[in-house]
């Protein structure tokens, strides 16, 4: 699967060269939209893309932020402190307040493709070009997204640099683990989204780090989502070697935490609990943070195969990734302290 990923990465070429005047961009929904050549004011309603915009150095051109980023994102204030002054443009259901949007007068709007018909509706109502992007947890799509957003904002070169950096780091991990046979890849159960029995049906950082996500291949509980509710007995039958819990919550917000899992009488017989191999990982909601996803992959790789990554200092690597992406020093360390992710074999 990693091989396929890399193949796709090589095949990716920047499909659109910016011309004079407007650029035509194709978004995640397959819509072709004409984007003005110079984008000075951009409004992103998709947190993942907002982070990419900051990574591309176009942070100052943001004119607003969405509700999710404003209320629930712990990383964003760290990477873009100026965000506190940005008006909140959308409501809890994700739908933007149209009058505020018009008042802010962006040159470009980026929306989430998960709301049916929203991008078109928004475009019609505001008369502004609206692009819909999401990677939905796939590295391949994440890279493409970075390139497309870069093209739309006239930052193609910077986008290319970031994409290359991301690609190379992932490739480095892959090289160190590609010869590990399937049975030596640890069986991992991932618990996300506030309930121990809720698991993603596919999580690329786990696969990229040469682990086996046990919930892979199951049907999601709700159409269009990536989450599945598994029964406790199923988890016991799987008997995972490692348990990963959703760490992107503040400690006070966590329903599922390491202490709780280790002391739960129902999970006593699980290998991971007996060996105390229960850790936090970052995870995602609908939206990823590209830098964090990369660091997470490196972190998990070291966690799963410590003998192959002994020389890697994850905190140092993480800080470097954050420096390259967001131009900040000690960023990863700051985040992990904020989320109180304890030290462990992953370091």
């Amino acid at each position: 699967m990693i091989a396929a990923l890399c193949l796709c990465l090589q095949l990716l070429a920047l499909p659109y060269a910016p011309k004079e005047g407007a650029t035509t961009i194709r978004d995640s929904l397959g819509r072709t939209v004409a984007v003005p050549e110079r984008v000075r004011r951009v409004l992103s309603l998709q947190p993942e893309v907002t982070r990419i915009i900051v990574a591309l150095g176009a942070g100052p051109s943001l004119v607003g932020r969405d509700d999710f980023l404003a209320r629930f994102d712990h990383l964003f204030p760290l990477i873009h402190p100026a965000q506190a002054g940005l008006p909140v443009v959308s409501a809890a259901d994700g739908f933007p307040k149209l009058e505020v949007v018009l008042r802010l007068d962006p040159d470009l709007i980026i929306a989430s493709p998960s709301e049916a018909g929203l991008p078109d509706l928004l475009q019609k109502k505001t008369g502004k070009p609206v692009l819909a992007f999401s990677s939905m947890g796939r590295f391949e799509d994440l890279l493409r997204e970075i390139l497309w957003v870069g093209a739309a904002l006239g930052r193609a070169e910077r986008a290319g640099t970031l994409a290359r950096f991301l690609r190379e780091k992932l490739e480095a991990v892959r090289r160190r683990t590609e010869d590990i046979p399937a049975e030596r890849r640890p069986a991992v159960y991932v618990s996300f989204w506030g309930s121990f029995t809720r698991s993603p049906v596919g999580y690329e950082p786990v696969a990229a780090a040469a682990g086996r996500n046990l919930a892979d291949g199951l049907l999601p509980s709700r159409l269009g989502s990536v989450a599945v509710e598994v029964s406790l007995e199923r988890i016991l039958a799987w008997d995972p070697e490692i348990l990963l819990l959703h760490g992107n919550y503040l400690p006070g917000e966590r329903t599922v935490n390491v202490a709780g899992v280790l002391s739960d009488p129902r999970l006593r017989s699980v290998r991971a609990v007996k060996d105390c191999r229960v850790y936090y990982t970052f995870g995602f909601w609908h939206w990823w943070d590209p830098a964090l996803a990369l660091v997470e992959t490196i972190m998990l790789a070291k966690l799963f195969h410590p003998e192959r990554f002994q020389d890697v200092d994850v905190v140092r690597e993480g800080n470097e990734v954050f420096r390259v992406f967001y131009g900040m020093e000690g960023g990863f360390d700051a985040l992990r302290r904020k989320l109180e992710i304890p030290d462990g074999p992953w370091r």
Partner: protein
Amino acid sequence: MDKKNRKSRRVLGILIMALPVALFVLSLNVGSYSIPAGDMGKTLLSLVVPSLRQDVPQVHRDIVLHIRLPRLLLALAAGASLAVSGAALQALFRNPLVNEYILGLSSGSAFGAALSLVFLGRSFPPQPAAFVFAMVAVMAVLLIAGRPESGLVSLLLTGVIVSAFFSALLMLVEFFASPYALQSLFYWLMGNLALAGWRDLALALPLMAAGLTLLILLRWRMNVLSMSDEEARAAGADVRREKWLVILAATLVTAAATSVAGIIGWLGLIVPHLVRMAVGADNRIVIPLSAALGASFLLAADTVTRSLTSIEIPVGIFTSLIGIPIFLALLKKSKKVWL
């Protein structure tokens, strides 16, 4: 004809009473983690006899004691509670179309759960708040409508209004809730026995037991109260006090069941109907049999969902999918006189 009828009724009655026990034994052996039936006996014994503990794998004991037993007990208790509550309210309001949620209970419960999940944080269980607001909703309906002796229509209307009010409040809370809290709420609303552990049952089970006991003790009285208020009063019943008592008990058990298991529909409507079709309308028999059949019904539904797939499907979906066609069939059959 009379004799033969009575005999077949008695047989049916005994069968229904035995059903929960049989289903319990069956359900104990169902689950994603397969425990061979032979080992099950040993495992159960080891729970009671400490010296046998070495012979039985830890994981078997954990599954039986901490996963299956609480879940099965919850299914039995909640099923019995909802069915009896429905039967009692049907007798009280003299209308077999009444279900346990008519007095606004489900909306109050949902609102309480949402409030708790959003404001008290995700580590605090939503059960207590769900319970409290369920009671609040019913009390509101009773106080607004006047008295339990008020006509059914006025109580129903008040119930609809109070329900709508709490639904609106619920939507408001959902609006301000984080996506994380919303997900939990969604699963709770669908009716879910999956995460029931002993801690969740610690308060709910005794409440259900107490309320059920009260309702079972009052079962003959329900016959009297199911006559018109005038007739009941003429016969010497303190109509107002007795109706309050029944409604309180019914609300108690339904609120307790709903707070842990979420909203599971149709049990209180269908099970009493089926029981009356089988054994007649005398509440001395209908109430206990409703408890047994309701318990069996929910347990069976839960076991079926568990055995079909290792993915958790909310049991409320099943009771609706099965319940609605049965309800329609019943409606078609009994056109004139109700059962």
